[in-house]
Protein backbone atom coordinates (compact mmCIF):
# COMPACT_ATOMS: atom_id res chain seq x y z
CA UNK A 1 0.00 0.00 0.00
CA UNK A 2 2.74 2.35 1.05
CA UNK A 3 4.92 1.40 -1.89
CA UNK A 4 1.98 1.98 -4.21
CA UNK A 5 1.30 5.48 -2.97
CA UNK A 6 5.00 6.27 -3.19
CA UNK A 7 4.88 5.16 -6.81
CA UNK A 8 1.78 7.27 -7.44
CA UNK A 9 3.49 10.26 -5.86
CA UNK A 10 6.50 9.79 -8.08
CA UNK A 11 4.22 9.64 -11.14
CA UNK A 12 2.51 12.83 -10.05
CA UNK A 13 5.90 14.54 -9.89
CA UNK A 14 6.30 13.80 -13.57
CA UNK A 15 3.45 16.20 -14.29
CA UNK A 16 5.21 19.18 -12.77
CA UNK A 17 7.31 20.19 -15.77
CA UNK A 18 4.61 19.92 -18.49
CA UNK A 19 2.01 21.70 -16.33
CA UNK A 20 4.51 24.45 -15.50
CA UNK A 21 5.30 24.88 -19.19
CA UNK A 22 1.60 25.21 -20.07
CA UNK A 23 1.06 27.69 -17.26
CA UNK A 24 3.95 29.92 -18.31
CA UNK A 25 2.73 29.75 -21.91
CA UNK A 26 -0.77 30.80 -20.86
CA UNK A 27 0.36 33.60 -18.57
CA UNK A 28 2.78 35.09 -21.06
CA UNK A 29 0.08 35.32 -23.73
CA UNK A 30 -2.49 36.70 -21.27
CA UNK A 31 -0.01 39.44 -20.37
CA UNK A 32 -0.17 40.49 -24.01
CA UNK A 33 3.32 39.38 -24.97
CA UNK A 34 2.99 37.73 -28.41
CA UNK A 35 0.12 37.69 -30.88
CA UNK A 36 -2.62 35.22 -30.00
CA UNK A 37 -3.62 34.90 -33.65
CA UNK A 38 -0.27 33.28 -34.42
CA UNK A 39 0.52 31.73 -31.08
CA UNK A 40 -2.72 30.56 -29.48
CA UNK A 41 -2.83 30.08 -25.71
CA UNK A 42 -3.38 26.56 -24.27
CA UNK A 43 -6.97 27.53 -23.45
CA UNK A 44 -7.59 28.62 -27.08
CA UNK A 45 -6.29 25.27 -28.25
CA UNK A 46 -8.47 23.45 -25.72
CA UNK A 47 -11.58 25.30 -26.89
CA UNK A 48 -10.81 24.52 -30.52
CA UNK A 49 -10.04 20.93 -29.60
CA UNK A 50 -13.48 20.58 -28.05
CA UNK A 51 -15.27 22.10 -31.03
CA UNK A 52 -13.47 19.71 -33.36
CA UNK A 53 -14.48 16.82 -31.12
CA UNK A 54 -18.09 18.01 -31.13
CA UNK A 55 -18.43 18.33 -34.88
CA UNK A 56 -16.65 14.98 -35.33
CA UNK A 57 -13.92 16.37 -37.57
CA UNK A 58 -11.11 15.37 -35.23
CA UNK A 59 -12.26 11.74 -35.13
CA UNK A 60 -12.37 11.63 -38.91
CA UNK A 61 -8.69 12.59 -39.10
CA UNK A 62 -7.62 10.53 -36.10
CA UNK A 63 -9.44 7.51 -37.50
CA UNK A 64 -7.78 7.82 -40.91
CA UNK A 65 -4.31 8.22 -39.39
CA UNK A 66 -4.75 5.38 -36.91
CA UNK A 67 -6.03 2.97 -39.55
CA UNK A 68 -3.04 3.71 -41.79
CA UNK A 69 -0.58 3.30 -38.94
CA UNK A 70 -2.22 0.06 -37.82
CA UNK A 71 -2.44 -1.50 -41.28
CA UNK A 72 1.02 -0.35 -42.34
CA UNK A 73 2.55 -1.47 -39.07
CA UNK A 74 1.20 -5.00 -39.46
CA UNK A 75 1.97 -5.18 -43.18
CA UNK A 76 5.58 -4.11 -42.51
CA UNK A 77 6.44 -5.85 -39.28
CA UNK A 78 5.12 -9.37 -39.93
CA UNK A 79 7.29 -9.99 -43.02
CA UNK A 80 10.17 -8.17 -41.28
CA UNK A 81 10.12 -10.65 -38.39
CA UNK A 82 9.97 -13.60 -40.78
CA UNK A 83 12.84 -12.31 -42.93
CA UNK A 84 14.94 -11.42 -39.88
CA UNK A 85 14.58 -14.91 -38.43
CA UNK A 86 15.37 -16.55 -41.76
CA UNK A 87 18.46 -14.34 -42.09
CA UNK A 88 19.71 -15.53 -38.72
CA UNK A 89 19.07 -19.19 -39.49
CA UNK A 90 20.21 -19.44 -43.09
CA UNK A 91 23.38 -17.86 -44.39
CA UNK A 92 22.25 -17.71 -48.07
CA UNK A 93 19.21 -15.64 -47.03
CA UNK A 94 21.49 -13.29 -45.12
CA UNK A 95 23.87 -12.93 -48.07
CA UNK A 96 20.95 -12.18 -50.38
CA UNK A 97 19.07 -9.74 -48.13
CA UNK A 98 21.89 -7.90 -46.33
CA UNK A 99 23.02 -5.69 -49.25
CA UNK A 100 19.43 -4.77 -50.05
CA UNK A 101 18.86 -3.59 -46.51
CA UNK A 102 22.13 -1.68 -46.47
CA UNK A 103 21.18 0.10 -49.69
CA UNK A 104 17.53 0.88 -49.01
CA UNK A 105 17.57 1.58 -45.27
CA UNK A 106 19.30 5.01 -45.52
CA UNK A 107 16.87 6.32 -48.17
CA UNK A 108 14.44 8.71 -46.47
CA UNK A 109 11.22 6.73 -46.85
CA UNK A 110 9.18 9.84 -47.60
CA UNK A 111 11.21 10.14 -50.82
CA UNK A 112 9.38 7.04 -52.00
CA UNK A 113 5.97 8.70 -51.69
CA UNK A 114 5.67 9.85 -55.34
CA UNK A 115 6.60 6.36 -56.47
CA UNK A 116 3.99 4.85 -54.19
CA UNK A 117 1.37 7.29 -55.45
CA UNK A 118 2.13 6.08 -58.95
CA UNK A 119 1.85 2.48 -57.88
CA UNK A 120 -1.08 2.60 -55.47
CA UNK A 121 -2.94 5.82 -56.27
CA UNK A 122 -4.09 8.57 -53.97
CA UNK A 123 -6.11 6.40 -51.56
CA UNK A 124 -5.14 4.70 -48.30
CA UNK A 125 -3.04 2.02 -49.99
CA UNK A 126 -0.14 4.32 -50.87
CA UNK A 127 0.12 5.64 -47.29
CA UNK A 128 -0.17 2.16 -45.80
CA UNK A 129 2.57 0.96 -48.15
CA UNK A 130 4.82 3.81 -47.06
CA UNK A 131 4.33 3.01 -43.37
CA UNK A 132 4.95 -0.68 -44.08
CA UNK A 133 8.24 0.08 -45.83
CA UNK A 134 9.37 2.41 -43.06
CA UNK A 135 8.45 -0.12 -40.37
CA UNK A 136 10.13 -3.03 -42.15
CA UNK A 137 13.72 -1.85 -41.64
CA UNK A 138 14.01 -1.30 -37.89
CA UNK A 139 12.06 -4.51 -37.30
CA UNK A 140 14.08 -6.69 -39.68
CA UNK A 141 17.36 -5.39 -38.30
CA UNK A 142 16.31 -5.90 -34.69
CA UNK A 143 14.90 -9.35 -35.37
CA UNK A 144 18.07 -10.46 -37.09
CA UNK A 145 20.26 -9.00 -34.33
CA UNK A 146 18.17 -10.65 -31.63
CA UNK A 147 18.11 -14.02 -33.34
CA UNK A 148 21.81 -13.95 -34.21
CA UNK A 149 22.76 -13.17 -30.62
CA UNK A 150 20.87 -15.99 -28.95
CA UNK A 151 23.22 -17.53 -26.43
CA UNK A 152 25.17 -20.47 -27.78
CA UNK A 153 24.06 -22.73 -24.97
CA UNK A 154 20.47 -22.62 -26.24
CA UNK A 155 21.55 -23.90 -29.65
CA UNK A 156 23.55 -26.63 -27.89
CA UNK A 157 20.60 -27.67 -25.76
CA UNK A 158 18.27 -27.67 -28.76
CA UNK A 159 20.62 -29.82 -30.80
CA UNK A 160 21.42 -32.23 -27.99
CA UNK A 161 17.72 -32.69 -27.26
CA UNK A 162 16.87 -33.48 -30.87
CA UNK A 163 15.24 -30.24 -32.07
CA UNK A 164 14.29 -30.19 -35.77
CA UNK A 165 14.66 -27.06 -37.93
CA UNK A 166 10.99 -26.31 -37.36
CA UNK A 167 11.32 -26.55 -33.59
CA UNK A 168 14.46 -24.42 -33.71
CA UNK A 169 12.61 -21.77 -35.71
CA UNK A 170 9.35 -21.68 -33.78
CA UNK A 171 10.43 -22.50 -30.22
CA UNK A 172 13.99 -21.24 -29.90
CA UNK A 173 14.99 -18.59 -32.40
CA UNK A 174 11.65 -16.73 -32.41
CA UNK A 175 11.25 -16.60 -28.63
CA UNK A 176 14.93 -15.98 -28.03
CA UNK A 177 14.75 -12.95 -30.32
CA UNK A 178 11.40 -11.71 -29.02
CA UNK A 179 12.67 -9.10 -26.52
CA UNK A 180 14.85 -7.54 -29.22
CA UNK A 181 12.01 -7.80 -31.75
CA UNK A 182 9.81 -5.81 -29.38
CA UNK A 183 12.47 -3.12 -29.03
CA UNK A 184 12.44 -2.86 -32.83
CA UNK A 185 8.64 -2.74 -32.95
CA UNK A 186 8.59 0.11 -30.47
CA UNK A 187 10.96 2.15 -32.64
CA UNK A 188 8.89 1.20 -35.68
CA UNK A 189 5.73 2.49 -34.04
CA UNK A 190 7.22 5.95 -33.62
CA UNK A 191 8.69 5.82 -37.13
CA UNK A 192 5.29 4.98 -38.60
CA UNK A 193 3.72 8.14 -37.14
CA UNK A 194 6.63 10.23 -38.37
CA UNK A 195 6.51 9.10 -42.00
CA UNK A 196 2.74 8.95 -42.15
CA UNK A 197 2.15 12.52 -41.01
CA UNK A 198 4.73 13.72 -43.50
CA UNK A 199 2.98 11.77 -46.26
CA UNK A 200 -0.39 13.14 -45.25
CA UNK A 201 0.93 16.70 -45.62
CA UNK A 202 1.16 16.32 -49.37
CA UNK A 203 -0.63 13.19 -50.44
CA UNK A 204 -3.92 13.03 -48.61
CA UNK A 205 -7.24 14.78 -48.06
CA UNK A 206 -7.79 13.28 -44.63
CA UNK A 207 -5.65 12.43 -41.61
CA UNK A 208 -3.87 14.41 -38.91
CA UNK A 209 -1.03 15.34 -41.26
CA UNK A 210 -3.55 16.77 -43.73
CA UNK A 211 -5.33 18.61 -40.92
CA UNK A 212 -2.10 20.29 -39.80
CA UNK A 213 -0.97 21.20 -43.30
CA UNK A 214 -4.38 22.46 -44.35
CA UNK A 215 -4.74 24.68 -41.28
CA UNK A 216 -1.29 26.12 -42.00
CA UNK A 217 -2.42 27.09 -45.48
CA UNK A 218 -5.57 28.69 -44.01
CA UNK A 219 -3.57 30.18 -41.15
CA UNK A 220 -5.76 28.49 -38.55
CA UNK A 221 -2.93 28.10 -36.07
CA UNK A 222 -5.11 26.77 -33.26
CA UNK A 223 -6.24 23.82 -35.41
CA UNK A 224 -2.61 23.20 -36.27
CA UNK A 225 -1.83 22.88 -32.58
CA UNK A 226 -4.78 20.57 -32.04
CA UNK A 227 -3.33 18.29 -34.74
CA UNK A 228 0.13 18.36 -33.21
CA UNK A 229 -1.19 17.62 -29.73
CA UNK A 230 -3.41 14.84 -31.10
CA UNK A 231 -0.38 13.11 -32.65
CA UNK A 232 1.48 13.37 -29.35
CA UNK A 233 -1.45 11.90 -27.45
CA UNK A 234 -1.89 9.07 -29.96
CA UNK A 235 1.81 8.29 -29.76
CA UNK A 236 1.63 8.18 -25.98
CA UNK A 237 -1.48 5.97 -25.88
CA UNK A 238 -0.21 3.49 -28.45
CA UNK A 239 3.15 3.31 -26.75
CA UNK A 240 1.55 2.57 -23.35
CA UNK A 241 -0.72 -0.07 -24.90
CA UNK A 242 2.32 -1.51 -26.57
CA UNK A 243 4.19 -1.81 -23.28
CA UNK A 244 1.21 -3.65 -21.82
CA UNK A 245 1.24 -6.00 -24.77
CA UNK A 246 4.96 -6.57 -24.30
CA UNK A 247 4.44 -7.48 -20.66
CA UNK A 248 1.79 -10.02 -21.70
CA UNK A 249 3.80 -11.52 -24.53
CA UNK A 250 7.18 -11.67 -22.74
CA UNK A 251 6.28 -12.75 -19.21
CA UNK A 252 9.73 -14.24 -18.67
CA UNK A 253 11.51 -10.92 -18.98
CA UNK A 254 12.77 -10.24 -15.47
CA UNK A 255 11.14 -7.19 -13.93
Amino acid sequence: MNALSAKARERALYLISPVALLLIWQVVLMLGIGDRRFIPAPTDIAVRFWSLVENGELFLHVGATLWRVFAGFLAGSIPAVAVGLLMAMFKPVRIFVDPLIAAIFPIPKIALMPLLLLAFGFGDASKIALVAIAVFFPVVINTYTGAANIEKIFWDVARNYGASQTVLFTRIVFFGALPTIFAGLRIALAVSFIVLVAAEFVASKVGLGYMIWNSWELLQVDIMFVGIVAIGVLGLITSVLFQELERKVIPWKAE
Partner: protein, 265 residues
Protein backbone atom coordinates in the same frame (compact mmCIF):
# COMPACT_ATOMS: atom_id res chain seq x y z
CA UNK B 1 20.33 -51.01 -7.39
CA UNK B 2 17.42 -51.51 -9.76
CA UNK B 3 19.46 -53.87 -11.81
CA UNK B 4 18.06 -55.32 -15.05
CA UNK B 5 18.39 -52.19 -17.09
CA UNK B 6 21.98 -51.09 -17.50
CA UNK B 7 23.01 -47.89 -19.23
CA UNK B 8 24.93 -47.42 -22.43
CA UNK B 9 28.38 -48.85 -23.03
CA UNK B 10 30.99 -46.51 -24.51
CA UNK B 11 34.19 -47.36 -26.38
CA UNK B 12 36.51 -44.50 -27.22
CA UNK B 13 39.62 -45.30 -29.26
CA UNK B 14 42.54 -43.09 -30.34
CA UNK B 15 40.39 -39.98 -30.15
CA UNK B 16 42.02 -36.76 -31.25
CA UNK B 17 40.67 -33.25 -31.56
CA UNK B 18 42.52 -30.40 -33.17
CA UNK B 19 41.11 -26.90 -33.57
CA UNK B 20 42.43 -25.20 -36.68
CA UNK B 21 42.04 -21.45 -37.10
CA UNK B 22 43.83 -18.63 -38.87
CA UNK B 23 45.95 -18.11 -35.75
CA UNK B 24 47.24 -21.68 -35.90
CA UNK B 25 46.13 -25.03 -34.62
CA UNK B 26 45.48 -26.14 -31.08
CA UNK B 27 45.59 -29.77 -30.07
CA UNK B 28 42.78 -30.17 -27.52
CA UNK B 29 42.64 -33.95 -27.13
CA UNK B 30 45.15 -36.59 -28.05
CA UNK B 31 45.21 -40.38 -27.87
CA UNK B 32 42.12 -40.82 -25.73
CA UNK B 33 41.33 -44.50 -25.18
CA UNK B 34 38.56 -45.17 -22.73
CA UNK B 35 35.86 -47.71 -22.19
CA UNK B 36 32.90 -47.07 -19.98
CA UNK B 37 30.83 -50.01 -18.83
CA UNK B 38 27.04 -50.03 -18.80
CA UNK B 39 25.64 -48.28 -15.76
CA UNK B 40 28.98 -46.89 -14.66
CA UNK B 41 29.34 -43.47 -13.06
CA UNK B 42 32.57 -42.13 -14.50
CA UNK B 43 34.08 -38.83 -13.41
CA UNK B 44 36.69 -36.88 -15.35
CA UNK B 45 38.91 -34.36 -13.61
CA UNK B 46 41.64 -32.23 -15.07
CA UNK B 47 43.03 -28.71 -15.10
CA UNK B 48 41.00 -26.12 -16.96
CA UNK B 49 41.66 -26.18 -20.67
CA UNK B 50 42.47 -29.90 -20.66
CA UNK B 51 39.74 -30.63 -23.18
CA UNK B 52 37.42 -32.48 -20.82
CA UNK B 53 34.45 -30.39 -21.93
CA UNK B 54 35.44 -30.94 -25.55
CA UNK B 55 35.39 -34.68 -24.96
CA UNK B 56 31.90 -34.42 -23.51
CA UNK B 57 30.68 -32.25 -26.38
CA UNK B 58 31.94 -34.81 -28.86
CA UNK B 59 30.10 -37.55 -26.98
CA UNK B 60 26.98 -35.34 -27.03
CA UNK B 61 27.21 -34.87 -30.80
CA UNK B 62 27.79 -31.13 -30.44
CA UNK B 63 31.31 -31.33 -31.83
CA UNK B 64 33.18 -33.80 -34.03
CA UNK B 65 36.56 -35.39 -33.46
CA UNK B 66 39.45 -34.87 -35.85
CA UNK B 67 40.21 -38.59 -35.79
CA UNK B 68 39.53 -41.68 -33.72
CA UNK B 69 36.32 -43.51 -33.01
CA UNK B 70 33.52 -43.46 -30.52
CA UNK B 71 31.13 -46.34 -30.16
CA UNK B 72 28.10 -46.00 -27.97
CA UNK B 73 25.87 -49.00 -27.45
CA UNK B 74 22.59 -47.73 -26.07
CA UNK B 75 20.40 -50.52 -27.38
CA UNK B 76 17.08 -50.64 -25.56
CA UNK B 77 17.12 -46.95 -24.62
CA UNK B 78 14.85 -44.49 -26.40
CA UNK B 79 17.54 -41.81 -26.44
CA UNK B 80 21.28 -42.35 -26.59
CA UNK B 81 22.39 -39.45 -24.44
CA UNK B 82 21.22 -36.28 -22.73
CA UNK B 83 23.45 -33.51 -21.50
CA UNK B 84 23.25 -31.37 -18.38
CA UNK B 85 25.13 -28.13 -18.87
CA UNK B 86 27.06 -26.06 -16.37
CA UNK B 87 24.68 -23.11 -16.60
CA UNK B 88 21.35 -24.90 -16.62
CA UNK B 89 20.61 -23.89 -20.22
CA UNK B 90 16.91 -23.74 -19.42
CA UNK B 91 15.01 -21.71 -22.01
CA UNK B 92 13.97 -18.48 -20.23
CA UNK B 93 10.76 -18.28 -22.31
CA UNK B 94 9.48 -21.69 -21.28
CA UNK B 95 7.93 -22.69 -17.97
CA UNK B 96 9.69 -25.34 -15.90
CA UNK B 97 7.20 -27.88 -17.22
CA UNK B 98 7.83 -26.97 -20.86
CA UNK B 99 11.58 -26.97 -20.30
CA UNK B 100 11.51 -30.41 -18.70
CA UNK B 101 9.33 -31.76 -21.50
CA UNK B 102 11.44 -30.22 -24.26
CA UNK B 103 13.26 -33.41 -25.26
CA UNK B 104 9.92 -35.27 -25.43
CA UNK B 105 8.27 -32.59 -27.56
CA UNK B 106 11.15 -32.57 -30.06
CA UNK B 107 10.91 -36.34 -30.39
CA UNK B 108 7.20 -36.35 -30.98
CA UNK B 109 6.15 -38.11 -27.78
CA UNK B 110 2.33 -37.82 -27.60
CA UNK B 111 1.28 -34.98 -25.24
CA UNK B 112 -0.60 -37.22 -22.83
CA UNK B 113 2.34 -39.56 -22.34
CA UNK B 114 4.74 -36.61 -22.20
CA UNK B 115 2.70 -34.95 -19.44
CA UNK B 116 2.86 -38.12 -17.35
CA UNK B 117 6.59 -38.49 -17.80
CA UNK B 118 7.20 -34.80 -17.01
CA UNK B 119 5.08 -35.21 -13.89
CA UNK B 120 7.23 -38.14 -12.76
CA UNK B 121 10.46 -36.28 -13.52
CA UNK B 122 9.31 -33.20 -11.61
CA UNK B 123 8.44 -35.42 -8.66
CA UNK B 124 11.87 -37.04 -8.85
CA UNK B 125 13.59 -33.68 -8.35
CA UNK B 126 10.95 -32.20 -6.02
CA UNK B 127 9.72 -29.43 -8.30
CA UNK B 128 6.06 -30.31 -8.86
CA UNK B 129 4.94 -27.09 -7.18
CA UNK B 130 7.09 -24.99 -9.49
CA UNK B 131 5.90 -26.42 -12.81
CA UNK B 132 4.45 -23.11 -13.99
CA UNK B 133 7.36 -20.93 -12.90
CA UNK B 134 9.78 -19.42 -15.34
CA UNK B 135 13.51 -20.09 -14.85
CA UNK B 136 14.23 -16.54 -13.67
CA UNK B 137 11.84 -17.14 -10.77
CA UNK B 138 13.87 -20.11 -9.52
CA UNK B 139 17.00 -20.34 -7.40
CA UNK B 140 20.20 -21.67 -8.96
CA UNK B 141 19.68 -25.04 -7.28
CA UNK B 142 16.13 -25.36 -8.60
CA UNK B 143 17.27 -24.46 -12.10
CA UNK B 144 19.87 -27.22 -12.02
CA UNK B 145 17.25 -29.65 -10.69
CA UNK B 146 15.02 -28.75 -13.64
CA UNK B 147 17.91 -29.33 -16.02
CA UNK B 148 18.49 -32.75 -14.48
CA UNK B 149 14.79 -33.56 -14.79
CA UNK B 150 14.90 -32.48 -18.43
CA UNK B 151 17.73 -34.94 -19.04
CA UNK B 152 16.19 -37.87 -17.13
CA UNK B 153 12.73 -37.49 -18.64
CA UNK B 154 13.97 -38.50 -22.09
CA UNK B 155 15.23 -41.78 -20.58
CA UNK B 156 18.72 -41.64 -22.08
CA UNK B 157 21.14 -44.55 -21.93
CA UNK B 158 23.87 -42.13 -20.90
CA UNK B 159 23.89 -38.84 -19.03
CA UNK B 160 26.59 -36.34 -19.90
CA UNK B 161 27.18 -33.79 -17.18
CA UNK B 162 29.49 -30.82 -17.55
CA UNK B 163 30.26 -29.45 -14.10
CA UNK B 164 26.54 -29.22 -13.40
CA UNK B 165 26.89 -28.03 -9.82
CA UNK B 166 29.94 -25.77 -10.18
CA UNK B 167 27.89 -22.57 -10.05
CA UNK B 168 25.97 -23.54 -6.90
CA UNK B 169 26.69 -22.60 -3.31
CA UNK B 170 28.24 -25.29 -1.09
CA UNK B 171 25.04 -26.39 0.69
CA UNK B 172 23.04 -26.71 -2.49
CA UNK B 173 25.86 -28.58 -4.13
CA UNK B 174 25.92 -31.21 -1.36
CA UNK B 175 22.14 -31.66 -1.54
CA UNK B 176 22.10 -31.99 -5.31
CA UNK B 177 25.04 -34.39 -5.34
CA UNK B 178 23.16 -36.66 -2.94
CA UNK B 179 20.02 -36.44 -5.07
CA UNK B 180 21.93 -37.23 -8.22
CA UNK B 181 23.52 -40.31 -6.67
CA UNK B 182 20.13 -41.46 -5.40
CA UNK B 183 18.50 -41.06 -8.81
CA UNK B 184 21.41 -42.72 -10.54
CA UNK B 185 21.28 -45.68 -8.15
CA UNK B 186 17.58 -46.08 -9.01
CA UNK B 187 17.90 -45.85 -12.78
CA UNK B 188 21.13 -47.65 -13.66
CA UNK B 189 22.09 -45.16 -16.35
CA UNK B 190 25.65 -44.59 -17.44
CA UNK B 191 26.91 -41.19 -16.29
CA UNK B 192 29.93 -39.31 -17.56
CA UNK B 193 30.54 -36.44 -15.23
CA UNK B 194 33.05 -33.63 -15.74
CA UNK B 195 34.28 -31.80 -12.68
CA UNK B 196 37.30 -29.88 -11.49
CA UNK B 197 36.73 -31.09 -7.95
CA UNK B 198 38.53 -34.27 -6.87
CA UNK B 199 36.24 -34.52 -3.88
CA UNK B 200 33.16 -34.49 -6.08
CA UNK B 201 34.68 -37.11 -8.39
CA UNK B 202 35.38 -39.43 -5.46
CA UNK B 203 32.00 -38.88 -3.85
CA UNK B 204 29.99 -39.61 -6.96
CA UNK B 205 31.94 -41.86 -9.26
CA UNK B 206 32.92 -45.50 -9.68
CA UNK B 207 36.09 -44.46 -11.46
CA UNK B 208 37.95 -41.20 -11.83
CA UNK B 209 39.84 -40.28 -14.96
CA UNK B 210 42.62 -37.74 -14.42
CA UNK B 211 43.52 -35.79 -17.53
CA UNK B 212 46.69 -33.92 -18.42
CA UNK B 213 46.93 -30.26 -19.28
CA UNK B 214 46.79 -29.28 -22.93
CA UNK B 215 46.77 -31.36 -25.01
CA UNK B 216 44.33 -33.43 -22.99
CA UNK B 217 45.46 -36.98 -22.50
CA UNK B 218 44.44 -39.57 -19.97
CA UNK B 219 47.05 -39.53 -17.24
CA UNK B 220 45.57 -42.06 -14.88
CA UNK B 221 42.35 -43.93 -14.21
CA UNK B 222 41.57 -44.54 -10.56
CA UNK B 223 39.06 -47.07 -9.25
CA UNK B 224 36.97 -45.60 -6.48
CA UNK B 225 36.45 -48.44 -4.00
CA UNK B 226 33.53 -47.05 -1.99
CA UNK B 227 30.42 -49.24 -2.29
CA UNK B 228 26.93 -48.10 -3.22
CA UNK B 229 24.53 -46.94 -1.89
CA UNK B 230 26.68 -44.19 -0.50
CA UNK B 231 26.09 -41.74 2.28
CA UNK B 232 28.01 -38.77 0.94
CA UNK B 233 28.34 -37.01 4.29
CA UNK B 234 29.89 -39.89 6.23
CA UNK B 235 31.93 -40.91 3.21
CA UNK B 236 33.52 -37.51 2.84
CA UNK B 237 34.44 -37.54 6.55
CA UNK B 238 36.25 -40.90 6.41
CA UNK B 239 40.03 -41.21 6.63
CA UNK B 240 40.19 -43.43 3.56
CA UNK B 241 38.41 -40.77 1.52
CA UNK B 242 40.85 -38.10 2.68
CA UNK B 243 43.81 -40.23 1.76
CA UNK B 244 42.47 -40.93 -1.73
CA UNK B 245 41.77 -37.27 -2.27
CA UNK B 246 45.34 -36.47 -1.41
CA UNK B 247 46.70 -39.20 -3.71
CA UNK B 248 44.71 -37.91 -6.66
CA UNK B 249 45.63 -34.33 -5.89
CA UNK B 250 49.31 -35.29 -6.15
CA UNK B 251 48.64 -36.68 -9.61
CA UNK B 252 46.64 -33.65 -10.64
CA UNK B 253 48.86 -31.02 -9.04
CA UNK B 254 51.68 -31.51 -11.52
CA UNK B 255 49.20 -31.00 -14.36
CA UNK B 256 47.68 -27.87 -12.83
CA UNK B 257 51.15 -26.40 -12.41
CA UNK B 258 52.04 -27.28 -15.98
CA UNK B 259 48.84 -25.63 -17.23
CA UNK B 260 49.66 -22.50 -15.25
CA UNK B 261 53.18 -22.33 -16.58
CA UNK B 262 51.73 -22.75 -20.06
CA UNK B 263 49.35 -19.82 -19.48
CA UNK B 264 52.07 -17.54 -18.14
CA UNK B 265 54.36 -18.13 -21.10
Amino acid sequence: MAGERRGAAVEIAALRKEYVSAAGSVLALSGIDLSVSPGEFLCIVGPSGCGKSTLLRILAGLDTQTSGTINVDAAGWPVQNAMVFQESGLFPWMSVEANVGFGLMTRGVPPFEAAERVEAALKLVGLTKFRNHYPHQLSGGMRQRSAIARAFVTDPGMLLMDEPFAALDAQNRVILQAELVRIWEQTGKTVIYITHSIEEALLLGDRTVVMTAQPGRIKQIIDVPFPHPRNLMTLSASAEFGQMKLDIWRVLEAEVMRARAEEEK
